[in-house]
Subunit: 221 residues, 2 copies
């Protein structure tokens, strides 16, 4: 696929930096976003060391989003609404990939969706209909992402209301060596976000770091 300009907001966190690492390794132009410029710069420098090349940059979230073609957001749920507000005007017309999971700090093993139905439905409502919000990657353990050579034994379920945007995200998942599926409209993201709590529950119970899911029963070329 063509080289794309990415922003990964919340890119200093484990999940965001893991995704950024894989896209940078696939040859995309990646900018990490953070609330603090210094923090973004340090995280970018770390990724560049891992990559052995000087390709990832750090910016504050808003600047990172403004210069990007595709904006990915992986922030703790507590920072979800405020981060969306801070970038709303600079992401209009863009593909916006929400990786956020609305975990309940009181019990991360129990599914508790926000009143809007899910984090990505909140994003769609807050950003407006001209932003093509796609929900994806919520179930991929950061543990998996950081080992570049490792096959990721977890499928990506991709939800959204714009098919072109979903197809782009499916390609982006493939570029990062993951298998991805169109999981339906944005309303279905509540399932994918909630599945993260089910997997956390399994991780704790079975003392593993990265349980995942695979779709079965479909042959694909």
């Amino acid at each position: 696929m063509t080289r794309l300009r990415f922003a990964v907001l919340g890119g200093t966190g484990k999940e965001g930096s893991g995704l950024a690492l894989r896209w940078a390794a696939a040859g995309h132009e990646v900018t990490l976003g953070s609330r603090e410029l210094d923090k973004a710069g340090r995280a970018a420098a770390e990724l560049n060391t891992t990559l052995g090349q000087n390709s990832v940059r750090g910016m504050v979230n808003r600047d990172a989003a403004a210069q990007a073609e595709v904006v990915v957001m992986a922030v703790p749920y507590a920072a979800h609404a405020s981060t969306l507000e801070s970038v709303r005007d600079v992401v209009q017309g863009k593909v916006f990939v929400d990786v956020t999971v609305p975990l309940d700090p009181a019990n991360v093993r129990r599914v508790k969706m926000p009143a809007a139905g899910s984090a990505s439905l909140e994003a769609q409502q807050l950003l407006g209909e001209t932003v093509r919000v796609v929900a994806a990657f919520q179930n991929i353990s950061a543990e998996h992402l950081k080992s570049l050579g490792r096959e990721i034994d977890c499928d990506v379920l991709v939800c959204g209301n714009n098919s072109d945007a979903k197809n782009l995200v499916i390609e982006l998942a493939q570029a990062a060596h993951m298998r991805a599926w169109d999981a339906g409209p944005i309303e279905n993201a509540q399932v994918v976000e909630g599945l993260t709590s089910v997997l956390i529950n399994l991780n704790i119970k079975h003392k593993v770091k990265a349980s995942g899911i695979r779709i079965t029963g479909i042959q694909r070329s």
Copy 2:
């Protein structure tokens, strides 16, 4: 495991009769429940023909539930509340397995949970706290269940607030040759119920009859 007395309410439907078939084949005592006695009797006779033995009986839902140790319900969502009402007093203190998926007739590919949060949360509320409601089997295609010899390439996610009841259901899944996992409290059933819409979406898109999911990343004996 010991031989158990099962009722499968809505046992004349595809999903219910598929589960009944597998438990009868595993040596359990199974009664199909239906709103109409005749219909239950005919469906039981069909299963007995498939099994080559005369072990499955048919009763009206309430009678089937009354005589059972474990009550399983697999009805269309439109009949969910009324079926629960009809058996409430005879399932007190029992394990009640809700297989119901609240599909939206307007669009079965889009997740739409009822106001209570999920079908099984509605069941728990309607039946009361002394009934050990367990949500399970919603993602298992009836297509898979009816072929007795066939390995089911889909895991069962089991949700509920009572660990003993969940462990029993995990054993029951294993007796029917399925792999099952404790997926957390009853609140997590919204994920499992909603996943059915995601799988229906995949079935339609990829022209298959029985997509499913598998949990990965956990070694089990």
